[in-house]
């Protein structure tokens, strides 16, 4: 049994109820792992606790119970080993694009000269196509450009892992597509380990090696781990030609539309080992019908899906 690079064990988040109200349990008993170089997306309805999980991974928030181990060490507090791309880009508005990236680089390599820091920062800004906007302030950049600076800032510190919270949620579809392509090529080149929140099913299929499906809160759980079995060298232009694409897509949409609401009530699955499914490999006959109502046995036997790959 090899340990995954990142291991989330029994993560639970409760908020104390005010004025005699019972505690509010956002999620409970979350277990999953991410391998080195793996791209994991998490999908779930708003409010199920995705951002909370990401903040715990970032070290910005603390879980009520459970813990996270990365590379054999327990996560306690934020670290340069994990780069974060915030949903609201969170650029410092008084610094230029270059200044924002250099701000992190200086912290990562304090012994570097200003020349080195600048050269390194420029390299990462050029990587996201912002070589021409180095000296612009965030207010002078479009939403997509701001998010690119955020991505460059996170990549530039060369973290062991990247955490992205709906990074493209506020962008128009066209810009989102372009940046997805950029992110895809960077990740394919660098083999970066990534944990990303998204509410966009197509984005998850394009980018991820596996998609964690989260049921609705309160008491949200990891309902299923969907492996994206299509070859890794996907591109946005061709990915939907793959016959697996729609099988996976239907499976994800079906979960979000039908099964995510009722899942929390079901006790059929072992939370430590959420079922791992590969809807892409199901073959034509095994496409999950959209209208199918969920029963515990559905999750237990989705075709040739493998269970418990996480250990």
């Amino acid at each position: 049994m090899s340990q995954p690079f990142l291991k989330i064990e029994g993560l639970t988040k409760r908020f104390a109820g005010s004025g005699g109200a019972p505690d509010f349990t956002v999620f409970e008993n979350i277990f999953f792992g991410i391998e080195k170089g793996e791209f994991a997306c998490i999908i779930g309805h708003s409010g199920c606790g995705k951002t909370t999980i990401l903040n715990v991974l970032a070290g910005l928030d603390e879980a009520t119970e459970g813990g996270v181990v990365m590379g054999g060490r327990e996560i306690a507090g934020p670290s340069l080993e994990r780069g974060v791309v915030f949903q609201s880009h969170a650029l410092l508005p008084w610094l230029t694009a270059l200044g924002n990236v250099a701000f992190g680089v200086r912290s990562r390599w304090p012994q570097w000269s200003s020349k080195q820091i600048e050269a390194h920062s420029i390299r990462y800004l050029e990587m996201v196509g912002l070589g021409g906007a180095l000296h612009k302030k965030p207010a002078e950049l479009s939403g997509g450009m701001k998010q690119r600076v955020g991505i460059a800032r996170a990549f530039a510190i060369e973290p062991k892992m990247l955490l992205l919270d709906e990074p493209f949620g506020a962008l128009d579809a066209l810009t989102r597509g372009t940046i997805q392509d950029e992110l895809l090529s960077i990740v394919q080149a660098t083999h970066q380990t990534v944990f990303m929140i998204t509410h966009d099913v197509d984005e998850a299929i394009l980018l991820a090696d596996k998609v964690l499906l989260m049921s609705n809160g309160p008491y949200a759980k990891i309902a299923e781990i969907v492996e994206i079995t299509m070859p890794r060298d996907r591109t946005r232009a061709t990915v939907h030609h793959d016959p697996q694409y729609y099988r996976i897509r239907n499976h994800l949409v079906d979960f979000l539309v039908n099964r995510s609401k009722t899942y929390a009530g079901e006790q059929g699955d072992d939370p430590v080992h959420p079922p791992v499914v590969r809807p892409g490999l199901d073959g034509g006959a095994q496409v999950v019908p959209l209208a199918k109502t969920p029963t515990p046995s559905d999750q237990a036997s989705p075709g040739p899906a493998l269970r418990n790959a996480s250990n």
Partner: protein
Amino acid sequence: MKPTSFWAAPILSVLFFGLFVGIWHFSTQQTLGEVTVDPEYAALIGAQAATGGQSAMPGPLDVGAKLWEHIRDPFYDRGTNDKGIGTQLIYSIGRVLIGFALAALVAIPLGFVIGMSPLIYKALDPFIQVLKPISPLAWMPLALYTIKDSNISAVFVIFICSLWPMLVNTAFGVASVRKDWLNVARTLEVSSLRTAFQVILPAAAPTIMTGMRISVGIAWLVIVAAEMLVGGTGIGYFVWNEWNNLSITNIISAILLIGLVGMMLDTMLAQLARAVTYKE
């Protein structure tokens, strides 16, 4: 709305000024001719003062001539009670700047601490709320009694009145720095000192500058009154002294200059504020 020309407002300003000066000129001219002095009053204040131009309301030409006189020789010194208006203004500006600088030295670091710590904020809030509305002049007797130096007492009064706006604004600016920006610094493992100077300070700078601008405005208002009380030097003392001399022209000249210096101080801080403002 039609776009107005760049010159429309300045031309209108000049027009209003002309109108004001005109009305002033004609109204003072009339009273000058009709003035009839109660003989008893004349005896009381001296015949020359009662009938001559000095006690009557001067016209704009008199004030203009007086101003020109002051501007030509602002720094003359003919004894303790007769110094040039420029010298007096410099005394006042000096007191304001010293008191203001001392207040900034106390208020900005203290405001930082208060803004960072909700506990200290709550603990100090009652004191601030009670001390803030006290007229700075109410401190004057206490200051004179304890410090026993009128000059330092005036500076102390300026210090006290400049303190609160800067303190409150700094605390507020620091407390309302966006959580996202602090989280960025945390995830990048930026040291607390660097976070304070490179994230919190620039983020709160516009709010702090607003506090400084309010402070310097109040300080300039208060210095005139404070100097009337402590006497000796300064533009406030000058005004009071000229009132004793019954030189209305000098008083009006001083009033004009007080306004101009106040505007200058405000413009300087506005310029500084513009330099630290950022667009989100």
